[in-house]
Symmetry: C2
Subunit: 104 residues, 2 copies
């Protein structure tokens, strides 16, 4: 499995707008190879958003960025994103809450 | 919801042992209030483990630490854990891959 843990910063006051775009584009679970995609506020940092992702493999994640619905979400959110402050790749091995992946 | 993103460091060469304890204690999904608990290797840091957690609330997480099976896992893993390097609390709002919580 392939994972990403990232912190992004919304433009001042735009966090909820960014989170809603992320949520709407991922909550259906229709992205092939996506096992988990969780969007969270940082309670100690007013404009910060944490996104934790698990994919079957790096290729699935990369391919998702080309999907029309993901491209649309990126275009919609981009004006409200000030930057990315932290990102780490991980290799998830298991646990609880990993969905069954849809095949592409 | 209540979330935690943390990085722990295993003693040299003990990462797999620590991960197996974490995996065994969480993969059944029997922890009340646990919505997601994912254990991952850091591919760029040989002894590092990332754990990302989502709970219904902070109280569920706190209560889990008192469960006999969790106490046993902590006791089993502790000798192989060198330290905790990073931890952030989050407030997850949604996404994909959040399990239904069991009630306690």
């Amino acid at each position: 499995m392939y994972g990403l843990i990232g912190k992004m910063r919304a433009s001042r006051g735009q966090r909820d707008a960014v989170m809603e775009v992320l949520r709407a584009s991922t909550s259906t679970g229709a992205l092939p190879g996506c096992l988990s995609y969780i969007i969270a506020r940082d309670p100690a940092d007013a404009d910060a958003i944490w996104v934790t992702e698990v994919w079957t493999d790096a290729e699935s994640h990369k391919a998702s960025l080309q999907l029309p619905e993901v491209q649309a979400a990126i275009a919609k959110a981009r004006p409200f994103i000030a930057g990315f402050e932290f990102q780490v790749e991980t290799h998830p091995v298991g646990g609880f809450g990993l969905a069954d992946a849809k095949t592409g």
